[in-house]
């Protein structure tokens, strides 16, 4: 019994780290621009497909695709910001939501059009199998993805606090109008944060592609959960999203194990509702 508990805890932690990595990019966009990017899950899908095609066409292992996915999604994010999202930055709050819905529907179906709705999987990634340590089996790709997630979150954290550009982004996040007065090019900061947020989810896609199936609608549940994670952590809070991601991973796994698998997402959503009832700004928000 306790062996299973340990196995479940570890698995919850691993899936939680993946959630964190997906959510960190979202919270960044959300914090800086106050925009809910509903196309976030579709960016994840594009990251996964990029990794898949690099593997299938050129034999590039997903581990090596990570930087490629990062760069490609950075560019995609920049383009979508410039040509679509920036047009609604001054509009009413919800126009930004609707525009990203449009982007989401478009990208998901463009993927159907280009690559068909079929399911794919990367056949033999470099990282596969499990480490068996006594009663516990640790999936190698999941473990590596978790380490990657922690490293990237840390890097982002340092980037925002130590570099000039990072500080500019933080300044805009704190107070847009004062940042403008201080001479920060907020438009550029917007584009940059949108691109960095997209890039992070692209990297998450490359990690996920090592062990998860790939198809145009793959982002659905990940997307829904990442909204919940971001709000639970507090909008714009990188460390909040990280902690909330792991928390939700563990709650989902243990809830499914001890209570009822059919209700495991209901438990996650209930956790969110209870948390914001007590703390309306989320765990780490202000």
């Amino acid at each position: 019994m306790s062996e299973q508990l340990l196995a479940q805890l570890i698995n919850g932690l691993l899936i939680g780290c993946m959630y964190s990595l997906i959510a960190v990019g979202l919270t960044m966009i959300w914090g800086v621009m106050n925009i809910v990017n509903f196309a976030h899950a579709d960016f994840l899908m594009i990251g996964m497909f990029t990794s898949f095609w690099l593997y299938t066409l050129y034999g590039v292992d997903p581990l090596l695709s990570i930087p490629v996915c990062g760069v490609l999604l950075f560019l995609l994010g920049w383009i979508i910001y410039k040509f679509v999202v920036s047009k609604v930055m001054t509009g009413p709050a919800l126009a930004q939501v609707v525009v990203t819905f449009g982007v989401s529907i478009f990208i998901a179906n463009a993927a159907v059009f280009l690559w068909s709705p079929d399911f794919r999987m990367i056949e033999k990634p470099l990282l596969q199998g499990s480490w068996i340590m006594g009663p516990v089996r640790l999936s190698i790709p999941k473990a590596v993805a978790s380490i990657g997630s922690i490293a990237i979150t840390l890097a982002l954290f340092l980037f925002l606090r130590k570099t000039k550009t990072g500080k500019a982004i933080l300044a805009v996040e704190m107070n847009r109008s004062s940042a403008l007065l201080m001479g920060i090019n907020t438009e550029r900061v917007n584009a940059l944060s949108f691109a960095i947020g997209s890039s992070l989810v692209g990297i998450a896609g490359a990690f996920l592609s090592m062990y998860y199936y790939i198809y145009p609608q793959v982002g659905g549940t990940f997307g829904l959960l990442s909204f919940c994670i971001v709000a639970l952590g507090g909008f714009g809070s990188i460390e909040g999203a990280f902690i909330a991601g792991i928390l939700i991973g563990i709650v989902q796994t243990l809830g499914g194990y001890y209570f009822d698998p059919a209700y495991k997402y209901a438990i996650v959503f209930a956790l969110y509702l209870v948390t914001v009832w007590i703390r309306p700004q989320g765990l780490m928000g202000w």
Partner: protein, 424 residues
């Protein structure tokens, strides 16, 4: 000269015949329109397309001349009793949503003037679509939806050719009994694992109901959300329950995820019996060798050709047209057009009441279907094909191989499954 004249004569006769038939409800252009609704966009578009291909090939065979195919109406062009009238599929996309099932059925009947309907795939969509055709008094022949409830509604215009989930569940348990007897295997406990939409929960209900009748103890009853991103907690529960056999009703995404998780967590029951998701065309390409040994319920497998040469011929035509082998979904949808065409041909009209009467009198012999059935005959009350039954296939070396009923088997079933760590 002689040949030409007789051709002219036959042309005149055909014209005469067609003119006289126009009044009997066939359009003058000799086209009989059949509505075909499938989920062609959204998450399961690939499945919908697969089904559609099966139906399209059937219509090709009915309309063309295939002297060497022993299928209803294959040898003649079109429907001979209606002056060689051809079938035409009018295709509609439901997006897999019940409200579109209703809307599309109504549009196809009232606007496109289809005289009968096939398809829909998802049982919930078939439910609303067939309710609409019932109100409009249009025959509906379904060969791809498996919810038992569809033929429990007492509809007058709705017929189902293919087996439903209650039949499939009983087949699987019967297989276990046969296995115990034939191979001296000992099986006492079963775990039921099913996704919690309409399909899975129906199968789960049947397993829970039937297992005690067969003398098996259900040690785990787990329903889960098909859109789960991670299923370690479900598999953890299974490992704790230690069943001899797992019975798993799933769609494709969860089938892939569970297979990976069984391996990762080392879940090793004696055997895993599965439904639906494990036989979707996308499953094996995604999991490759990890799918080996899974036993799946099916209506069709390519190796049925061993005992049925017809299967190989049909598959060759399918492969020529679409470039891939015929899948189970395509094979299921393949039969509905034949049943309809056969009934319309015997009714000599497309008028609904006459077609329903002809459908009730349907008696297609077993050698004219591509499944190992005794044939097609509808129950006068439920309108379910009384000969419909499932087969079981096992994935061996990444191929679906028929293993049950033992008399149609192409290979011996491998049982118990080798443990994960002993596999290469």
């Amino acid at each position: 000269m002689h040949g030409k004249r007789s051709r002219n004569l036959s042309f005149a006769l055909a014209l005469l015949l067609s003119l006289s038939l126009t009044s009997a409800g066939v359009a003058a252009d000799q086209e009989i329109k059949i509505g075909a609704a499938y989920p062609l966009s959204g998450a399961i578009a690939s499945t919908g397309l697969d089904c559609l291909h099966g139906a399209e090939l059937a219509v090709d065979i009915i309309n063309g001349k295939y002297p060497d195919l022993n299928l209803p109406l294959a040898k003649s062009e079109g429907l001979p009793n209606l002056g060689g009238a051809k079938l035409k599929l009018v295709v509609a996309d439901t997006k897999g949503e019940p409200r579109n099932g209703q809307a599309e059925a109504e549009r196809l009947v009232t606007q496109e003037k289809v005289v009968a309907m096939i398809g829909a795939y998802q049982s919930s969509v078939t439910k609303t679509a067939s309710q609409a055709t019932e109100r409009l008094k249009i025959p509906y022949v379904c060969s791809d939806s498996s919810s038992p409830t569809l033929t429990e509604r007492g509809l007058k215009y709705f017929f189902r050719v293919s087996p439903h989930d209650a039949i499939f569940a009983r087949d699987q348990l019967q297989f276990l009994k046969d296995l115990e007897k034939a191979k001296g295997q000992k099986i006492t406990t079963i775990a039921a694992l099913y996704e919690n939409t309409e399909f899975g929960s129906n199968v789960g209900k049947q397993i829970l109901k039937l297992a005690p009748e067969f003398g098996y103890k259900v040690v785990a009853d787990i329903s889960y959300a098909a859109n789960a991103t991670d299923v370690t907690s479900e598999v953890g529960r299974l490992i704790n329950a230690k069943p001899d056999v797992l019975m798993h009703a799933s769609y494709i995404t969860d089938a892939i995820l569970f297979t990976k998780t069984y391996k990762e967590m080392g879940f090793n029951p004696k055997g895993i019996m599965t439904f639906a998701g494990y036989i979707e065309p996308g499953y094996l390409p995604a999991v490759k060798g990890d799918g080996n040994y899974m036993v799946v319920r099916s209506t069709f497998a390519l190796d049925l050709a061993k005992n049925k040469p017809l299967v190989a011929k049909v598959n060759a035509l399918f492969k020529k047209k679409y470039g891939i082998d015929m899948s189970e979904n395509a094979a299921r949808s393949f039969t509905a057009p034949f049943v309809l065409a056969d009934a319309i041909n015997r009714a000599k009209t497309t008028e609904a009441e006459a077609v329903v009467k002809a459908l009730l009198a349907t008696n297609i012999p077993g050698d004219q279907v591509i499944y190992p059935w005794k044939g097609i005959q509808f129950d006068p009350q439920s309108h379910q094909n009384i000969h419909a039954r499932g087969i079981l296939v096992q994935i061996q070396n990444q191929n679906y191989v028929t293993v049950w009923p033992f008399e149609s088997a192409a290979a011996d079933v491998i049982w118990p499954f080798p443990a994960w760590k002993t596999r290469k």
